[in-house]
């Protein structure tokens, strides 16, 4: 969130160039540009970047419902159902339930044209290109809670504008593939990617999981020798990753569905006694099958 001085100007979220709008007491939208630096093989925005986008839009939609409390993402899921190609990509979130201890948000992602209008199919309908859900743990408000500068009037708009990405997002983040066949990747913890709790931002964790699964299933040295793209993420956030490096342990499941496959990735904080921070279940499909269009 762009509150209480977070994120700083030199930050991953700022460099994604997010433009946010809180549209009602329980809804929000956030958009980014689908630049070549955030897309993967096949030209669709990477699942990890989309996870970052929906995490921010989910938090934005929850802001008013939560007041005066704060939140931490407990789980996040994402399913990509069409190529996410932009030129703008917008996530729209709605709070489904605000309970005493948790808050659940659903989000849909759309491709927008250069002017910000929905791209429509031949029938004139704007179809979502991805679906997402999140559970946030409600944290009682404290003095240290970031100050929210939310005006009483709606909509409220803000932008996180940084210098932009000058190289592919995984390189900017500093994710290194240590062993592709075993799905081992590593990420040092830097200020650039910390969240308001001082830990690695949740979307970045999802991106590490995405990179590990992609490497294992179909990276250049992968066992199947065919490029794949992650379409589905199920992420459980268990503990904050503060020290680093964050290192993945991956296990491939035996599949019999469409080509591609499923991988379970555990992310541990190596500098904090290998503490398990995050579990990511990922499903990937060959790049060509995504572009084929469906249904």
């Amino acid at each position: 969130m762009a509150f209480g001085g977070y994120p700083p100007a030199r930050h991953f979220l700022s460099d994604l160039g997010m433009e946010a709008e809180v549209t009602s007491e329980t809804t929000a939208s956030v958009r980014i540009r689908a630049t070549p630096h955030v897309t993967g093989p096949g030209g669709s925005v990477r699942a990890g970047v989309l996870a970052t986008l929906v995490d921010v839009v989910g938090g934005s939609a929850a802001l008013r419902a939560l007041h005066p409390d704060w939140m931490a993402t407990a789980d996040l899921t994402l399913q990509v159902v069409q190529p996410v190609v932009g030129p703008w990509v917008e996530a729209r979130a709605t709070v489904l339930r605000r309970g005493r201890t948790t808050l659940v948000v659903e989000a849909l992602v759309f491709n927008l044209d250069e002017d910000g209008a929905d791209l429509v199919d031949p029938d004139g309908r704007a179809a979502p290109v991805a679906w997402a859900s999140m559970t946030f743990a409600v944290l009682p408000g404290r003095d240290s809670t970031p100050v929210r500068d939310l005006s009483e009037e709606l909509p409220v708009r803000w932008a996180m504008t940084g210098a932009g990405l000058d190289q592919p997002v995984t390189e900017v983040l500093g994710i290194t593939v240590v062993d592709a066949a075993d799905g081992v990747v590593s990420l040092p913890v830097a200020e650039y990617l910390r969240n308001s709790f001082g830990a690695v931002q949740g979307g970045v964790m999802a991106t590490i999981g995405e990179v590990a699964a992609t490497a294992m299933l179909g990276g250049p040295d992968g066992p199947d020798g065919e490029p794949v793209v992650v379409t589905d993420l199920q992420v459980a956030y268990l503990a904050l990753g503060r020290v680093g490096p964050i290192v993945s342990r991956s296990k491939r499941l035996a599949g019999d569905g469409p080509a591609g496959g499923s991988v379970v990735v555990e992310l541990v904080d190596q500098g904090a006694d290998d503490r398990l921070t995050t579990v990511v279940n990922a499903r990937a499909v060959p790049v060509g099958s995504m572009a084929a269009g469906h249904p």
Binding site: L253, D256, S262, V279, H294
Partner: protein
């Protein structure tokens, strides 16, 4: 009926509640065994489980129907989380499952462990291997439960909790019949809230919700296609249990979102029609061509 208390019969226990507690697990012949916490292994027990692959529970993919698999995951994960927070108890709030292989040979073996015990929630991971295929890993799930005061619910268990595999039913019901899922086609599928589908809280069992999501999403995809397209089966599933289902009938309303070759993602919204049509569960099911 098979239940955790067979090894310790107690006439004071409320038998109707016990039957409710175990009717769904018994239908799937789910064997369960608690593995007590070991020194240096963390404060929580783990749990093992085994489910046979009876013919009437096989889906179009050849193996256990995903709704049935998720029911076992919910039962085992719920028991593990509950045992880990006693004297409090739990209710499932979300289930995220990746089902990579639909043509399992069986039986399936489960192992569950607590990933996190928070102030008001407990998170468990469950891994599923196919014993009939050299213990291949075929599915993995994360289950999140809210910790609640059980009130008057009877939660006495012999520890470690062990439930042997119930014997096969000579004349078993199909899952649609057991779960009272009405026949039909199209994007809306209904379930009648029968008493044996209620969990110990008196609300619709999370596994029944998962089975309804499985059936409804497959019907929604099939109804958009001609018969030449072949069969489909549910796989990866996300369910957020937002509110308890108390009244019924229960309606699953599906929206086919799209996908990729051989993979269709369906959004499922489950409403408690008799309770002001309240939205009770939201999620997605990934339906695969088989």
């Amino acid at each position: 009926m098979s239940d955790l208390d067979q090894s310790r019969p107690d006439p004071a226990l409320d038998q109707s509640a016990l039957e409710r507690r175990h009717a769904v697990g018994a239908y799937f012949r789910l064997e369960r065994w608690e593995i007590p916490a070991v020194p240096d292994g963390g404060p929580f027990p783990t749990i093992g489980g085994r489910a046979p692959l009876d013919r009437h529970q096989r889906g179009a993919g050849g193996g256990l129907r995903t709704g049935a698999l998720l029911t076992s995951i919910d039962s085992l994960g719920g028991l593990l989380c509950g045992l880990s927070v006693q004297p409090e108890w739990i209710v499932t709030t979300s289930l995220m499952a990746t089902v990579a292989r639909l043509s399992q040979v069986g039986p399936l073996r489960f192992h569950g462990r607590v990933l996190r015990r928070g102030r008001s929630a407990v998170v468990a991971a469950l891994d599923v291997v196919d014993e009939g295929a050299a213990d291949q890993a075929v599915a993995s799930a994360v289950l999140t439960c809210a910790v609640l005061d059980p009130g008057d619910m009877d939660l006495r268990f012999a520890r470690p909790a062990i439930v042997p595999m119930p014997p096969p039913d000579p004349d078993p019901l199909a899952p649609e019949e057991f779960f009272r899922i009405e026949p039909g086609t199209g994007p809306v599928t209904r379930l009648e809230l029968a008493d044996h589908l209620r969990n110990p809280w008196g609300i619709l069992h999370g596994g029944a919700v998962a089975m309804l999501a499985d059936v409804a999403s497959c019907r929604a995809v099939s109804s958009q296609r001609d018969h030449a397209h072949g069969a489909v089966a549910a796989a990866d599933t996300v369910l957020h249990y937002l509110r308890p289902i108390k009244v019924g009938p229960v309606e699953a309303r599906c929206r086919v979102l799209g996908g990729s070759t051989g993979r269709t993602v369906v959004r499922v919204a489950i409403h408690d029609v008799g309770n002001d049509d309240r939205l009770a569960t939201v999620g997605t099911v990934t339906v695969l061509d088989v």
